[in-house]
């Protein structure tokens, strides 16, 4: 697998984040309205002026006379008056100052001529001068600036002052020198710019490049128009003419990359529908005072696309947006030697697909990130520590110890099989048990059971091979039971089966409950809830609908979240973020909690547990149906308990339904404080790891810590070495004080050499 440049490029195109604001796009000079407003609203007139001068060669003039063609495009006009850009620009020029830099000009030898000393011609001349070309301007009158002089808003002093720029760039001026026929000039000059203003017959030029076809002549401004153009457009033409002449003389492509030099419509998407209306409140005439300018600038909507960054906490965490992320991901994958700085970012996305649902152009960053993870695994560049813990957990779910596939007791074949998913079994095993008993009772058909993980963990981790292996294991169990219809209880499992194992037909337990009615024992415990859609149901509108109907049948009044249905926020579990980047996962959960108020009704148990872990209130719909007391009260179970629950569920069901007694394990008894429990959870240290350490340590490998009186044991389990401080109580119970771990393996311990424990 390889990263595909072409595809990357197409994706980058989808993200409009870097597109200009609407008013900037239609401004002939593409003055950055957003930045100017931004600086002025912070009172920084110097910066605002600097932004303006970047696009406008004669700021003193244009800021006085601009007709503001941008006003019709400004997004603010949808919810108030369009920004008064010309007045803001005028105030930037009035109140701000920009240091004049000394310019070192490269001197070029090609000679250029400009016919006409109006705005277009003088702009072309000064721009050519900046590029180092000798320029001569021919003006038929005895003065410069053409119609501006009659206009009067830019007075004599201003025009004179701006005219100094011509001198600065070495432009020579020939006044009272009319050129009616440019013919003779073509001999003396390498390129001739025609900017003689409005004439009866406008000149024909090639669009965007302003070249009179097949000649060394270039024409712009009113010379190519039938009516007067705006001052801004005259100046813009002047700039374009200089670019064309320069490219022509340098013999490089005349049109490459110039598609957006002229006026265009932006593809930037801005949401203004929730904006408060704000009209302009500044005096109609005169130069705005600084305070007035600030007030006006503050009405600017700061047009940017923030759809996905508003929605996704992961994107905000890394302080960027998809277009940049795509580039970073691509670069990260292309590094042959050196540090891959984007690894952590790539491994923190929830792969939830919300971005695609909220983006006006449907860009799915998660999809690219998932692909990147696969490539990293394939190239052996995936950091070992990133997802190992989650993969171990999944392997546990699908190991002899916790995996189970059986037909209904007494039946040799299954019509249906219940697949509750590893997470529901881990979090609420009693719900799984009750649901299974209910299904057997009410389906009227033979209902088998498969306890295990659908493999999404491997998929999320980019472990393609393991994912394939898992699918095989599931398919075999399914075939062994006679190819039953699977009844899913987890929307993510449902999604994985639909996508990846299309031969297997699946329904949701919610569908069954809609058809068969609510379980007999069900009684309503609450009135209202806010429904939260799981990422797993993002592409399954039927699932989202069925769950809502079910909740209504249960007697609940449902409210919707701000991000609802296919736009739902990830609870923070997706993509294994809690394992690879707990901080980002918490930020996702906290945003979800913040966006809306009230008790959340979930149909994925991970959503429930994530919110409860962050001190929110959430219930899982199946728990409400089968075990309403627990549904509200129980804490989010930790990693160790989740394993024990799966183990116990299998053991108990085997004994209760299939009459198979598993030998009771005689496990070392561990106790620890709540504080230690939280720490173990955060450090991802399982009780089973601790037991392995203790076993070894108690077997003649302990160290005594004189200070705390604790024993210290250590042992490598899988790829991780664990250290445990503990005390042995008289009753044989182990009091765990604290534990920590590292991945580096230890050698050189002589006799104290340890064996390598098993993973499970």
């Amino acid at each position: 697998m390889e990263v595909n440049q072409q595809k990357l490029h197409e994706l980058e195109q989808l993200c409009v984040q870097e597109q200009p604001p609407a008013a900037m796009a239609v401004c002939p000079l593409h003055v950055n309205c957003r930045d100017i407003c931004g600086h002025i609203s912070e009172g920084d007139f110097n910066q605002a002026r600097a932004v303006y001068e970047k696009s406008v060669p004669f700021p003193e003039i244009l800021s006085r006379v601009c007709e503001q063609p941008c006003r019709d495009a400004c997004i603010r006009k949808n919810c108030g008056d369009a920004l008064l850009m010309q007045r803001l620009e005028r105030s930037a020029v009035e109140w701000g100052s920009v240091k004049q830099r000394r310019l070192f000009l490269s001197k070029k030898k090609e000679r250029t001529a400009v016919i006409g000393g109006g705005i277009t011609g003088l702009t072309a001349a000064v721009e050519l001068g900046k590029k180092g070309y000798p320029v001569t301007v021919f003006e038929k009158e005895a003065w410069l600036w053409g119609s501006l002089r009659k206009d009067g808003r830019a007075d004599e002093a201003i025009l004179e002052n701006e005219g100094k720029k011509l001198v600065q760039y070495g432009v020579s001026i020939e006044l009272e020198h009319e050129i009616a026929d440019p013919g003779p000039l073509l001999e003396q000059f390498d390129a001739v710019v025609i900017a003689w203003g409005l004439k009866k017959d406008p000149l024909a030029v090639k669009e965007t490049i302003f070249q009179v076809e097949g000649s060394t002549m270039f024409a712009g401004g009113d010379a190519i128009r039938e009516n007067f153009g705006t001052y801004a457009s005259a100046m813009a033409h002047g700039k374009s003419l200089a670019i064309s002449v320069d490219r022509f003389l340098k013999k490089v492509s005349m049109d490459a990359g110039r598609e957006r030099e002229g006026v265009f419509e932006t593809t930037l998407h801005v949401r203004w529908d929730k904006e408060e209306r704000k009209e302009s409140s500044v005096p109609e005439f005169g130069v705005l005072s600084q305070e007035e300018a600030v007030l006006e600038a503050q009405r600017c909507l700061d047009c940017k696309c923030t759809e996905c960054t508003d929605a996704c906490a992961f994107m905000r965490h890394y302080k960027s947006y998809p277009k940049k992320y795509l580039r970073e991901i691509y670069n990260n994958l292309s590094i042959a030697m050196g540090t891959r700085h984007a690894n952590k970012m790539i491994n923190s996305c929830a792969l939830c697909g919300q971005c695609a649902a909220v983006c006006p152009h449907g860009l799915n960053l998660g999809e690219t990130i998932q692909e990147a993870r696969r490539i990293m695994v394939e190239k052996k560049k995936m950091p070992q520590s990133a997802f190992e813990f989650a993969i171990n957990d999944m392997n546990y779910s699908n190991s002899e110890t916790a995996f189970l596939s059986r037909c209904q007791p007494g039946k040799g074949k299954s019509d249906f099989a219940f697949f509750p998913g590893c997470q529901l079994a881990a979090s609420s095993p009693w719900t799984v048990r009750l649901a299974y008993l209910d299904l057997m009772k009410r389906m009227g058909k033979s209902v088998g059971l498969i306890l295990g993980c659908c493999g999404v963990t491997a998929d999320w981790a980019g472990e393609q091979e393991l994912f394939e292996k898992t699918k095989k294991q599931l398919e075999e169990s399914w075939k062994d039971q006679g190819c039953p219809v699977l009844i899913m209880a987890c929307p993510t499992c449902y999604d994985v089966f639909c996508r990846e194992m299309p031969d297997i037909s699946c329904i949701g337990i919610w569908d069954v409950l809609l058809e068969k009615g609510l379980p007999q024992e069900y009684h309503k415990t609450m009135e209202q809830a806010v429904i939260h859609d799981s990422c797993g149901a993002r592409s399954h509108p039927k699932v989202r609908k069925a769950v809502r109907t079910l909740a209504k049948n249960m007697g609940y009044q449902l409210e919707e979240e701000k991000y609802k249905q296919e736009q739902s926020l990830c609870c923070g579990f997706g993509g294994l973020a809690p394992v690879s980047n707990p901080q980002v996962a918490d930020e996702m959960t906290d945003q979800w909690m913040r966006e809306d108020e009230g008790l959340r009704l979930t149909y994925c148990v991970n959503c429930r547990d994530r919110l409860v872990k962050r001190k929110g209130t959430a219930v899982h719909i199946l728990e409400l149906l089968y075990d309403p007391q627990e549904a509200l009260e129980r804490k989010a179970p930790g990693y160790s308990l989740r394993r024990d629950n799966r183990f116990e569920l299998k053991r108990q069901l085997l004994e209760e339904l299939w009459n198979e007694k598993a030998p009771k394990e005689d496990k070392m008894k561990l106790v620890y404080s709540q504080e230690t429990e939280n720490e173990l959870e955060e450090r991802k240290i399982l009780e089973s790891d601790i037991r392995q350490v203790l076993e070894w340590s108690e077997n003649g490998h302990r160290i005594r810590d004189g200070k705390s009186g604790c024993m210290i044991g250590h042992r490598q389990v899988g790829n991780v070495t664990f250290w445990v401080y503990y005390r042995v109580r008289e009753d044989g119970v182990y009091e765990v004080e604290r534990a920590y771990s590292h991945r580096m393996a230890i050698s050189g311990e002589g006799d104290g050499k340890q064996d390598v424990g098993k993973i499970l």
Binding site: I703, M744, I746, G748, D751, G752
Partner: protein
């Protein structure tokens, strides 16, 4: 810090005892391995049986940093 070792750890003599051999741990060499790299470090170690000790601050400090850096190479 000694030239030979990537890391050393100051500890009070006699504060850590090898329970098996009944002797105090003394500074001694143990070697850490990760992704094909070896890092000899000077840590408390039993002079008799050789079992060693690595403190928490090292595990979650320097060792963790080096692990992460190597994984991102």
């Amino acid at each position: 810090m000694s030239e030979k070792y990537y890391e050393t750890w100051e500890f009070e003599a006699g504060s850590l005892i090898c329970d098996r051999c009944g002797v105090p741990l003394e500074p001694g060499e143990i070697v850490l391995h990760y992704m094909g790299n070896d890092f000899p470090i000077l840590m408390p170690k039993c002079p008799v049986c050789g079992q060693g000790f690595i403190p928490e601050e090292l595990a979650y400090g320097k060792i963790f940093q080096v692990e992460q850096a190597l994984e991102d190479k």
